[in-house]
């Protein structure tokens, strides 16, 4: 009998060995013959498998940093989250704001050698517009027609003036795709070309190992000059703590958004360069204005006055994410109003506001009871909410913190709109017109169902003019209205350290005004 057990084990061990053998057989690529050590390779941490390499069907954060190196857009966002030229070297907006003309560079080529032309641009946006499941489709309904007067000119004829459309073209899902490859009758999501991308970007796609890595190699014919690196490998490491160790051990070179707990440790490491990356994505409380208690602006003002943003910033984010008072992120200086802001922390003042509005203390010392705040379990949000509840209690406002898993939170807050207060983050760029997308009457992301005609009008006016000073003026007025109505309270800014191997220079973070937010075209090994 012992022999039988031994036999079973031997068979199992054999299976284990065979598995190793088999997987090695499937491994077949072209590295043979290359001299090791001479190649300049950069390894970037990726947190998950990309859904697809088609950059335009859906906004996928797991492919976004990869496709920015494979494809080009008309314009792109840089590290300071401002728009810089990409395929379009310049663009003009007509007097009435309804015609936008892009002038394309004439030296861009696809990875197969074909030139990039205005036809490809038209094909890309026409296809997105026709397919309602593609991310930018409903945004593109603003475009009546796209004309291509010559190979390097694209004209967008719009049915409504909106200059923020240009900024949207520099964000998710607006990459120009090659018509001659994709236009084969198959939808993009099922198109084999989506898994074996031919782009026009600084790197060419080489290999995708499921769950392990994505490798891209330099495109020597890139129109802005051949990249300095030979290869960029995106190594998939789902766990943040493991990724930090991999960086410390030199197994990866680039780690975006270091967990706050590891910042000091990495700062002290001389092989690692830490740079603060700030985003216009403040943590914020959204009020459900359909709720009876919350619909009273005095209650909202009292809550805003009784939240200690300084304490939240220090205790939960080690001061990396700073207190935010401006109603549009202070990071975008030209548009942010720092005069008409949300109130400063003052518990006595909060109590005074409630008493003046006629609220009475109950036996337990509360003016208002039964408020809840829905938060998702990530990024320090539950802890921040608990600190808020503690200071609010001192002001006689009871706030109960309800923590959910992200998808469950989203279902409750955004689909069912079943909340009183909720805590969220999210990008408020790429243009201040995002204020309209977040707080305009009746729009999808306006969970609190805020509605103010004057605010809507100001934003419509701001979108219709190309003049930045005039726009800044209008957006500041709109923020003054928000500061008055308080449909939401900004709490802290969003910022995180990017950690890079200090042997490399010209990383994405260094490219404000020059290159894209996640592109490695100019990255090189320091001399």
């Amino acid at each position: 009998m012992k022999r039988k057990i031994f036999l079973v084990m031997a068979v199992l061990a054999l299976i284990a060995v065979t598995v190793v053998g088999c997987s090695s057989n499937t491994e077949d690529n072209d590295s043979a013959g290359k001299s090791e050590g001479v190649e300049k390779t950069l390894i970037v941490r990726a947190s998950g498998d990309p859904m697809s390499f088609n950059p335009d069907t859906l906004p996928d954060d797991n492919n976004y940093h990869i496709v920015q190196n494979l494809y080009n857009r008309l314009v792109k966002l840089d590290a300071s989250k401002q728009i810089v030229p990409d395929l379009a070297t310049e663009w003009d907006v007509s007097e009435d704001g309804k015609i936008i003309t892009f002038h394309l560079r004439d030296d861009a080529h696809w990875h197969d050698g074909e030139p990039v032309t205005s036809k490809d641009v038209k094909y890309t946006f026409d296809t997105i517009k026709e397919n309602p499941t593609y991310y930018m489709s409903s945004r593109l309904q603003i475009v009546d027609s796209i004309e291509t007067p010559d190979e390097n000119t694209v004209v967008f004829n719009m049915n409504q003036a909106d200059v923020s459309f240009i900024a949207d073209l520099g964000w998710y899902a607006t990459f120009i795709l090659p018509e001659h490859i994709f236009n084969n009758g198959q939808p993009w999501e099922d198109n084999p070309a989506s898994m074996d991308p031919i782009g026009s970007g600084p790197f060419k796609f080489q290999e995708f190992k499921q769950g392990e890595s994505i490798t891209i190699v330099a495109n020597p014919d890139y129109h802005e000059g051949a990249p300095k690196l030979d290869k960029v490998i995106f190594s998939i490491i789902p766990d943040d703590a493991t990724a930090v160790q991999a960086l410390v051990n030199g197994e990866i070179d680039v780690l975006e958004a270091v967990p706050a707990a590891n910042v000091d440790e990495l700062m002290a490491n001389e092989n690692i360069r830490m740079e603060l990356n700030e985003y216009p994505s403040p943590m914020r409380i959204i009020f459900n204005l359909k709720n009876e208690i919350i619909s009273d602006v005095n209650v909202r003002r009292a809550i805003a006055t009784a939240i200690d943003k300084e304490e939240i910033s220090q205790k939960i984010f080690n001061g990396v994410q700073k207190p935010e008072y401006n109603m549009y992120p202070s990071l975008i200086e030209w548009a942010s109003n720092s005069e008409d802001t949300s109130p400063k922390f003052n518990i006595e003042e909060a109590i005074r506001i409630l008493e003046d509005a006629g609220y009475k203390k109950d036996a337990d010392g509360f003016y208002i009871r039964g408020l809840t705040i829905d938060v998702f379990e990530d990024g320090g949000y539950p802890d921040a909410a608990k600190l808020m509840a503690a200071t609010l209690e001192k002001a006689g406002i009871e706030l109960i913190v309800q923590v959910h898993e992200f998808n469950a939170w989203n279902e409750k807050v955004s689909v069912q709109k079943d909340f009183i207060l909720e805590l969220q983050g999210g990008f408020m760029g790429p243009d201040p017109a995002a204020l309209q997308k977040r707080f305009g009457t009746g729009v999808g992301s306006n969970y609190g169902e805020y509605s103010n005609k004057e605010f809507d009008d100001l934003l419509a006016q701001a979108a219709a003019t190309g003049d930045q000073e005039e726009r800044a003026e209008l957006y500041k007025k709109a923020q003054a209205i928000l500061a008055e109505d308080l449909p939401y309270i900004p709490i802290v800014t969003f910022a995180a350290y990017d950690a890079n191997n200090s042997n490399f220079i010209n990383l994405p973070i260094d490219g404000a005004g020059k290159w894209g937010w996640q592109e490695f075209t100019f990255t090189d090994i320091a001399e």
Partner: protein
């Protein structure tokens, strides 16, 4: 025996069908849907949501979704992942080898080590070695696996610089043949080590308690009274009787191998099926989840059947 096997297969099939239905209900009861992952975290566009719900049939009533899914599953098709737009069977099978490698290696090693430790401790109950082994096993048993994994990374990779931090291969190189096998083996040491440490207490406790139990049976006392050699009593009578529960545990742990080591796979960035399950849960990728659970319930059913048959072989008293 033949009738018994047929009966077992039939109950196995019924179990799978029931589990399948319960899974479908539970997965769909969970709040949230895959649409949010598709739309991205940044925006909520009602028009896009409606178009995507229609495309994936999520706007249809649940019972219609159930019937259409059951139909494709019965025809042997696990469906297509909503998130990755690829056949679920392909996604599972391409990640299986990595998980099997990890689970089998650590399973067999911890089975051997844990059982041996248990036998030694049971034969010398109360001795110094028993105290040490039992203490060791309690400490390991109370350690969270992901924490232990991270500690091993910090010790062996970051401080001692002996082993790679994570992954299955070194992304900088693309080895072939024997160099590839060595690379994988090097990357395997920490995750397999963590799993062995975590699983040892399981086999240790089972082996120790069942050896003790059998040793105290009357028939052992009788055998001793006959003056039979201690060694022969142990090898022929105690061990064979005491090993049965260990076989069951080993079988069960193999059946759960698809999802069982998800946390370890996440910590060590190991490209296996456990991570696939966790991701699918987070993204509410219904077809992938249903597919994995189906494969899992089928393998549990099969393994349990095999275990029952193996029982009959190991223990001649068991006959049906």
């Amino acid at each position: 025996m033949k009738r018994y096997v047929a009966k077992r297969i039939l109950t196995g099939l019924l179990t799978i069908l029931i589990v399948f239905s319960i899974n479908f209900i539970i997965i769909n009861l969970a709040p949230g849907d895959p649409i949010k992952t598709l739309m991205g975290k940044e925006t909520d566009d009602p028009a896009l949501r409606a178009a995507l719900e229609q495309k994936y049939g999520l706007d249809k009533p649940l019972h219609i979704q159930f019937v259409s899914y059951l139909k494709t599953a019965i025809s042997g098709d696990l469906g297509t992942s909503i998130i990755y737009n690829r056949p679920v069977s392909e996604m599972i099978s391409e990640k299986m080898p990595a998980t099997i490698l990890l689970v089998l290696t650590s399973g067999i090693l911890s089975l051997i080590i844990g059982t041996l430790m248990g036998i030694v401790a049971a034969r010398k109950e109360g001795s110094f070695i028993d105290v040490i082994f039992s203490g060791f096993s309690y400490i390991l048993n109370s350690m969270p696996s992901f924490w232990l994994g991270l500690m091993l990374i910090i010790i062996f990779s970051s401080v001692l610089n002996l082993l790679p931090t994570c992954g299955m291969t070194d992304p900088r190189t693309s080895y072939k043949g024997i160099a590839y096998v060595m690379d994988v083996l090097k990357h395997m040491i920490l995750p397999v080590g963590t799993l062995i440490l975590i699983e040892i207490p399981l086999y240790y406790r089972i082996a120790k308690s069942s050896v003790l139990q059998v040793t105290n049976e009357d028939f052992i006392l009788t055998l001793r009274a006959t003056g039979m050699n201690e060694k022969k009593i142990f090898n022929k009578y105690i061990f064979r009787n005491a090993i049965l529960p260990t076989v069951t545990i080993f079988g069960i742990s193999l059946a759960y191998l698809i999802t069982g080591v998800a946390l370890i796979e996440t910590v060590f960035a190991w490209p296996g099926t456990g991570r696939l399950v966790l991701t699918a849960i987070n993204q509410r990728d219904y077809p992938t989840l249903m597919g994995i659970y189906l494969v899992m319930s089928v393998s549990v059913a099969i393994v349990m059947m095999l275990v029952d048959i193996l029982y009959a072989v190991l223990d001649p008293r068991i006959r049906y």
